[in-house]
Symmetry: C2
Subunit: 429 residues, 2 copies
């Protein structure tokens, strides 16, 4: 006996409180998932073009089996020695540059960013953090204050240490080699030093996902990294969204951007939905943190989490999902570009691998964001069984970021549906 969505929404308000947002005007009541597909309570099937957390596919058999096997064998904590965490960190760090050799495992990307900022404080002795003005790095008291799009009015005043640079925007404010971005960072560093706060770190998603994944040439972050290092600060790359092969060309977006970060932050897709996050860094930085701070995380790095995360790495390799992301992503951008030729509302097509999208504008010349229109498109797509979302500073960029086994046939269904929705949705409401 299935309860109505309206009933469940009333229960949500009562049990989970106000302002617990759902996606879509007509919320989805999802009950089952498999690969790139989701089913609602009425048996309706949806193509998932949005969820990056089930990185290797909803209910991936390899991951499910790893979780079941380990959960029925042992699940404790890192106060005992266990091979699972060691084998996982060994394999994970092997995918990164030599200097990125050790890790702290957590349960969430938020916990990982919260550690990364403290590492920067421990190493530099300062607390000044620089981020972009259209980002999000998590939900703890400390890191939530980096999320300008989320403007918390509570949080113990931690924003006192944070400074923001304009998010890169390749469509409106081209910055081909990242020199302008580096200059903005340099200006904030100078200001932090001048006002006595001091500079600890620049924290960015190296593919600037929340900012709308601007089109950047390879090596684009080099100039900013140089400025950061010269000022004695650390470069923190939050790869929660951009990592694990999603961009198709590289396992980690920081590689594409031409930098080796001091700290890499991991989260969402790491355990395919099982709660695991982490920080990868050098022995020196980890040592500095651990000498100032006896960090322990009860669930972090437990045998089940590590088994899930290991299965994700194995699946990426076994199914060559990075190559799939590259191939399907290229195909998707071709199809999006064709649609852009047909519909003026598509102002810009961007992406790499299995993160791509289109910026919607009211007028191609003025580039006025069509935020409301993007919203209507997304809701229409949901009604037609295709799940996606939007992001960027103006919330007008389609956010398409499906599970990694997404195929060209899936892309065809996505774009055939998008074509139909755009044809039937007038830009002027």
């Amino acid at each position: 006996m299935t309860r109505s969505t309206a009933d469940l929404m009333a229960d949500r308000a009562r049990l989970l409180g106000p302002n617990v947002a759902t996606f879509y005007d007509d919320p989805l009541h999802i009950v089952r998932g498999e690969g790139v597909w989701l089913w609602d309570a009425e048996g309706r099937k949806y193509l998932d073009c949005y969820n990056n957390v089930p990185h290797v596919g909803h209910c991936n058999p390899r991951v499910v089996e790893a979780i079941c096997r380990q959960a029925s064998t042992l699940n404790t904590h890192t106060r005992y020695v266990h091979e699972g965490i060691l084998a996982y960190v060994e394999r994970l760090t092997a995918t990164m540059a030599d200097a990125l050799e050790s890790a702290v495992l957590t349960c969430t990307g938020s916990e990982a960013n919260d550690i990364a900022l403290r590492m920067a404080e421990a190493v530099t002795g300062h607390r000044g953090i620089i981020a972009t003005d259209a980002t999000y790095h998590g939900n703890t008291s400390l890191v939530s204050q980096l999320g300008q799009s989320n403007v918390p009015t509570v949080g113990f005043g931690l924003d006192q240490y944070f400074r923001f640079v304009a998010a890169p925007d390749s469509y409106r404010n081209p910055d081909p080699d990242g020199a302008l971005f580096a200059q903005s960072v340099a200006a904030r560093i100078d200001a932090l030093k001048a006002d006595g706060t001091g500079f600890a770190a620049l924290v960015v998603c190296p593919y600037f996902l929340n900012e709308g994944f601007p089109r950047h040439a390879d090596g684009w972050l080099k100039a900013a990294a140089e400025v950061v290092r010269k000022a004695g600060g650390l470069l923190i790359c939050d790869e929660v969204q951009s990592g694990f092969g999603r961009i198709g060309t590289h396992m980690w977006a920081h590689e594409k951007m031409g930098v080796v970060p001091d700290i890499v932050v991991l989260g969402k897709p790491m355990g395919n939905g099982h709660p695991i996050g982490g920080v990868v860094t050098s022995s020196d930085i980890l040592g500095a943190f651990r000498s100032g701070y006896r960090y322990f995380n009860t669930f972090g790095g437990n045998p089940v989490s590590c088994a899930a995360a290991m299965a994700v790495l194995e699946e990426i390799e076994a199914e060559d999902l990075m190559a799939n992301a590259r191939k399907v992503g290229a195909y998707a951008q071709e199809r999006l570009t064709i649609l852009a030729g047909k519909y003026d509302v598509i102002g810009d097509v961007r992406g790499s691998g299995l993160v791509f999208g289109a910026e919607m504008v009211l007028d191609p010349a003025d580039k006025t964001p069509a935020s409301g229109y993007a919203d209507r498109v997304i809701n229409q797509m949901r009604q037609r069984g295709v799940i996606l979302s939007k992001l960027g500073r103006h919330k007008n960029t389609l956010k398409i970021r499906p599970p990694m086994p997404f195929s060209t046939a899936n892309a065809d269904l996505l774009f055939d549906t998008l074509d139909a929705v755009l044809a039937q949705t007038p830009v002027a409401p």
Copy 2:
């Protein structure tokens, strides 16, 4: 082919960094768990008298089955409607007073405490937090600064908002009705108001687990709660260790202490090791938090976490584990009391349900803490196949906090072994 523990310890230092503590001088390499038992890599069996996270027993079949079933069906997030989280919060809040009617689910107790402090800030408009000077409430930048026993030297200076009262100590400084404790809290509140910080909340474990679980009469926290409310602050009870029936007499230790907290914080045992935590509070407080803060936790309250947590509640009820805790706990204290008559080093026997222990002292008159001796006892017990630990301000109190299916036969093995160890371990080294 099993690798040596020494080999694995070298890998830990290399991959996980320095200062990642293990328990015992001779670290345990645990590979399997079932009920109250753990096995090491050499097949040796240990009686687990320490781990509270596997609340309903290591690899509890009901929990494992719930995790496997849900992980192979669907694992998404709360942006979609799902019955699992609603059914769980309904059942969880039904175990508490009416005012504790809604919840935010997280992945860890640390995340939950981090939210609880922000709730207090949102409701009161102030940031002054009071805790005891021998406690621990988690590992985020904010809440880690409450942990005096962990003295972090980094953490963005958040301790500026925190004030500490002496941890209660029924053995050395009796305070039968909690009036002295309430006076200390009142003095800190006055100081917070006088220095302009303002008062937001008192946060305590209602059974004062980390402080050494002092012997307190029922209703002991009433006086402090009254002081807190009169000053316009919130009472936060961190039930991460004391909740879910562990103390045997009540599902929640705050009931024994005679108070209804404004906020209850949950963690460790909630999902039997699966990463889930949460905050339970009133609709008004949750509303105040959510209006100042659009909190979202990607993994928090996901269908698998809720299935695991629901199975824990079901198992507690089906196996009447609270009654078992009461019965076995009473028996354990009898046996401990007999040992106290035999060995002068046992200065005090305390506990309730399946959290109990003995304070070790060099001299019953002076009550000088026998911290080093307690350490030797714990290591001897480990060598004899019984796992326990120590805690309290002086780290001289045996910490016995086994999985809830712990039986009187298990207690017999524990105390027979302890008797043998105490007989063979001279107090003067």
